[in-house]
Symmetry: C2
Amino acid sequence: MSAPVTRTLARYIADSRYADLPPAVVHEARRALLNWLGCAIGSARYDTVENALLAISPFAGPPQAAVLGRTERLDILNAALINGISSHVLDYDDTHARAVHPSAPVLPALLALAEWRGLSGADLVHAFVLGVETECRIGLSVFPEHYEIGWHITGTAGVFGAAAAAGKLLGLNEQQLTWALGIAATQSSGLREMFGTMCKSLHPGRAAQNGLTAALLAQRGFTSSEQGIEAPRGFARVMSTKFEPAIITEGLGEHYELSLNMYKPYACGLVVHAAIDGCIQLKREHHLRPADIERVELTTNPLVPELCGKRAPANGLEGKFSVYHAAAVALIEEAAGEPQFSDAVVTRPDVVAVRERVFATADASVRKLEAHVSIIMKDGRVLKKHVEHALGTVERPMSDGDLEAKFRVLTDGILSRAQSDRIITLCWGITELENAAALALAAVPAH
Amino acid sequence: MSAPVTRTLARYIADSRYADLPPAVVHEARRALLNWLGCAIGSARYDTVENALLAISPFAGPPQAAVLGRTERLDILNAALINGISSHVLDYDDTHARAVHPSAPVLPALLALAEWRGLSGADLVHAFVLGVETECRIGLSVFPEHYEIGWHITGTAGVFGAAAAAGKLLGLNEQQLTWALGIAATQSSGLREMFGTMCKSLHPGRAAQNGLTAALLAQRGFTSSEQGIEAPRGFARVMSTKFEPAIITEGLGEHYELSLNMYKPYACGLVVHAAIDGCIQLKREHHLRPADIERVELTTNPLVPELCGKRAPANGLEGKFSVYHAAAVALIEEAAGEPQFSDAVVTRPDVVAVRERVFATADASVRKLEAHVSIIMKDGRVLKKHVEHALGTVERPMSDGDLEAKFRVLTDGILSRAQSDRIITLCWGITELENAAALALAAVPAH
């Protein structure tokens, strides 16, 4: 028999107190909250979100919770779904250093629930930290085999995070939390086959909605197995060939998975980040003018040309899979956010002109988030930069100011400057907020 | 590369016409509909349904669809969920001869959609036949390995059936149906670990709701992989070690899986059915009086004592796992429906007295749905019955009259006699019904 990890985890969640959380972990939650809101608001008008809203709106319940970046209001289960979808549309949300996008499946459930019930910001942060702990530990207990089999771990593990977090916010006891984790287990789903389609974003949306439902059902005495994670026919053994139960329970309350959270400074796949980072640093340090650049040479991990080797991207989406475009636009605009991956920018002649002078060499000794950038200037100078850890990694985190800037770019054109300022202020002060509804309402554009 | 079975199946569903269906298959759909309605109405007041309704009611949308056997009305997605749960609470719903409970995941989605949109009974029947075809073929393509790994195939395959059926009823085209099947694939879930808990019934409920959602999303252009079933990281290869794609596409439109549907005459596990059947036949043929019985000897498949070997069941639920109680009550009441598995009947002295005279011998040469029954009378006579195929199997189906009687017992005390009569009439005439809403409304008890 496996150790009773489902119940042990449920007991930890039930017993945890806000005062137990280290201040650094609480601050990481504030940062994750701000980053998540920017991602969700920033994609509020994308087709993926529009299509999902059109499909479910005729069936939605009372207007209990905001749809981020939009004026519609939905019942909390559908709000969790839609805000979970929008969290991930740009693939710009946070990433745990080893697996799982932590915020997208959890925060949509929590913010909707907190808004509806008028719960405090401190309770929301507490529940969020526990949700991240739950999904990351469960995910890592079956990782990487679970992912390699084909499961999108942000969906499959995320549903546990949402159930645990929503359960904590609802004040469930150990028995109810044990059931909630079991109800989450039996809804765990999401195939990597869906990458590249709208369904990729459906995964955190469903995880948020199903995890929230699991907590609500458990609250009403809806029973499940009490060994949903570890039983011979439970989550771990059915959905992975590896299972290390100790990863779920060892050191609970001693170290926090949220401490290993990373935020993307650039609006494209992580593997390109080190090259972009090096280009931006050289641009800043030397005040480079594109016209003075003869040639750009990148030395990167082999995954970079494999995943992002598009020589001549034709549109914004293809630009995200072109290390050549990414380096060029970084050298011209000193940035690589969503605007730098628009159709217009990707096809702009001055960007194309620099792109054609970018060359990449794969080197297996270079790590995924490492790069060497050399710029040969027309005057013969050679400027070099070795990026050992790309900006946004745990080793070199984005600053709070970086996160604010990212948020402003994402929400530009959707929220007013004053609204964005207000959300930033609310996020940094979230633990003092008596009613977290204020944050949800601040994310609604003025008509 | 696998054959493009997802698209081939979508094309078949899109192109199928009601007039193509053989009359016998249409009639089997009528029988399945009546049997399903009895099961769902019959458990409408069970805790599993009450708890789920309490949990989700605050978030439900407009009153678009009936909750069977109750007076609440919900939006169609939540109605599909609740009616899907109630379908399976008694474990008395239909069973395909090889795998999958076909109706529970599909009909709740269809009836809710048909009621809301005022669609015809013939369209509902057509969509149902295609949904059963879809879930059974997909299920069988990965069976039995998929089930043995730990997946509850009624949930995991059922979601495809609901998506296909709802998609057909919504009039989706081939492309949309391809997406709908992919959206279903990435929501496929449900662990056998949950057997014995309320979550077992959640599986067809979620399958109905998620399949319906898949069709609604696809209708709005929400994209998925177009090889959701067969891709290397699609449903079949991620969730099973066996995959025979030809099972999904061979002979589409030539044979129908619904022809292999079975209905349970007795409210307990299938393995006990042959023994019950033999006892009821002997009781009828010889007008047996319990007081005249000395001893009852059953010879059964070894699974019978293994799964249903409770010698002294203490309550109704335990009675379902006691072949001794089942045989005794069959000899006394000439029936083994829900009333015969109540706490009161299981502990009644006259039932216990006969139960103690029942003995069972396991014999590996006896098939699961076969039994030999010998009754030794006090006057020395020995009455024997060999049940080669239990009532309810494909070889010896329940008659239409048997199904009517089962329906009446299940709905007794919930609907009036007149209401039950009306539903029976509507089911036999379903293909002439211009608006299927009449059927849903007939399943609502008078206040």
